[in-house]
């Protein structure tokens, strides 16, 4: 079990119910841009209330239909909002409850914006979106280790630390691996999300 950094606040968004709450209608499907925008603003509002390092679970378990426009507004623009240095809060995202028919839509919007997203699938954790082979290899190592320094990740993969510095830095910058400068540790997101 990975030790959770004490300053991480977990948040879970069950997206189907958030649709209902955000747009005040009994929509059972995540479709249309305005709906996606409303869902995203609802999530952003709750993250801003936390005001701390936040791990957000995007739960698609009750979502039936997910269209491209809504996924673009909900998922892609949400990740884009929390990537730059001037982000409004320190938030990380993990997708959960994704059905097979959601995956293609999510992958399409992520690739369109060159984004990546950690997802818990039935087959295990995975990294969706625009990811190269080196990033995937390093991300998988961090997931297996739970938490590790850069040297430990390199040791696990049997390579020199400088060989993984680019992909590891990229994963941190893209916020699919959490890095704590004080400890020098890289944290995998799915173990942190396990109890949420």
């Amino acid at each position: 079990m990975t030790d959770v950094p004490r300053d991480v606040v977990p948040l879970r968004f069950e997206l189907s119910s958030l649709v209902t709450r955000s747009v005040a209608s009994l929509y059972s499907h995540l479709v249309t841009r305005p709906t996606g925008r409303a869902v995203r603003l609802g999530i952003e509002s709750q993250i801003s209330e936390i005001g701390a390092l936040c791990l957000s679970i995007l739960d698609f378990g009750q979502v039936a239909v997910l269209d491209y426009s809504c996924a673009d507004e909900t998922v892609a623009k949400l990740i884009l909002r929390y990537q730059p240095d001037d982000r409004p809060a320190d938030a990380y995202f993990v997708a959960r409850g994704l059905a097979e028919h959601h995956l293609e839509t999510i992958e399409a919007v992520l690739e369109r914006h060159d984004l990546a997203l950690v997802a818990e699938l039935e087959s295990g954790p995975t990294l969706l979106g625009s990811v190269d082979a080196e990033e995937m290899e390093v991300w998988t190592a961090v997931e297996r280790l739970g938490r590790a320094t850069g040297d430990e990740v390199a040791g696990y993969l049997g390579v020199r630390p400088e060989e993984i510095s680019r992909p590891l830095d990229s994963l941190v910058r893209r916020r699919v691996v959490l890095y704590r400068e004080a400890s020098g540790l890289h944290y995998a997101l799915t173990p942190l999300a396990a109890d949420v």
Binding site: Y27, H29, T32, A64, L66, C70, T105, V109
Partner: protein
């Protein structure tokens, strides 16, 4: 009164004859003579409503002479054609209005106006479950792919709201066969009388096309290259996703706008991929055909 003869089979291609007749007539009151009509699909039905609206812009509501064929009248009633036609036409004959609650009919989605985003949600809510049932059991699509139907329908309806800046209509229907294909199909028609693709893209893209700019160039820009009037890189991908999905299913998707039509044409259809210099018709008209898998 100027007579517009409705062809016996009214669908995407034969609708051009209706448009041509409208273009050839120079104003005045119109009579749409639908007595010969024997078969009509969602595109044809919505096209007829749109043609009535265009014909009525001169001031006088056009007259509709109803089809003679009882089964066509019955079908138009079940598709709720008359609910909208009565506003646009002066109808001669006795239309059969749907009494509603037609859950046992073969209609997948009756003619439904798309005026706001709430209408898109309603369409997906109403159709999704039944569409999955039809796509998996009648067209033999894998379940994971059948789920994409709702998403596709949502995107094509949003196209009206985001690009046409006008109200439109959508309808879908299953058929045991069509003239081009001896297989079960689902047909989707989406029609609006908005600003069209050329109008939607003109402000942001016309200049760099120079003399080439026109309806065909605008359709190519949107359909092939995913261009939109929005600067957001996430926009313009709805059509791309629709084309990808329809292509995977061996189906056809076509868009007519202004004087041009562009299409992804499967091998079972002989339509050209791009047609220009068609008679002008405002807005955009989208036709989608999803065929049953051939091994079924």
């Amino acid at each position: 009164m100027k007579v517009i003869s409705i062809p016996p089979i009214l669908e995407e291609r034969s609708f051009d004859a209706v448009v041509q007749a409208l273009a050839d007539a120079e104003g005045g009151r119109f009579l749409f003579d639908a007595r010969p009509l024997r078969w009509v699909d969602p595109y044809g039905m919505l096209g007829l409503l749109a043609a009535a609206e265009v014909a009525g812009r001169g001031g006088e509501r056009p007259v509709l002479q109803l089809p003679k064929a009882a089964e066509v009248l019955s079908y138009l009633g079940r598709m709720r054609f008359f609910n909208y036609a009565e506003e646009l036409f002066e109808i001669h004959g006795a239309p059969r209005r749907s009494r509603g609650g037609d859950s046992a009919s073969d209609v997948l989605l009756e003619i439904t106006p798309i005026r706001e985003y709430r209408d898109v949600h309603d369409v997906v809510d109403r159709v999704n479950e039944r569409a999955i049932e039809i796509l998996t059991h009648q067209l033999h699509y894998p379940a994971r792919e059948a789920w994409q139907f709702g998403s596709m329908l949502s995107e094509v309806c949003q196209n009206i709201l985001e690009h046409a800046q006008a109200t439109g209509w959508v309808a879908t229907q299953t058929y045991s066969r069509i003239p081009q294909l001896d297989r079960r199909v689902v047909k989707i028609g989406v029609v609006d009388l908005g600003i069209g693709f050329k109008g939607s893209l003109a402000g942001t893209h016309a200049a760099r096309f120079g003399d080439r700019w026109g309806d065909a160039a605008a359709l190519e820009a949107a359909f092939i290259h995913g261009l939109t009037r929005f600067h957001d890189p996430g926009r313009g991908q709805g059509l791309k996703q629709i084309r990808k999905q329809v292509g995977r299913w061996g189906g056809k998707v076509s868009i007519r706008s202004g004087t041009a039509r562009i299409a992804d044409v499967p091998d079972w259809d002989d339509a050209p991929p791009l047609e220009e210099k068609l008679p002008h018709f405002p807005g955009a008209q989208i036709g989608i055909v999803l065929p049953a898998r051939s091994q079924a």
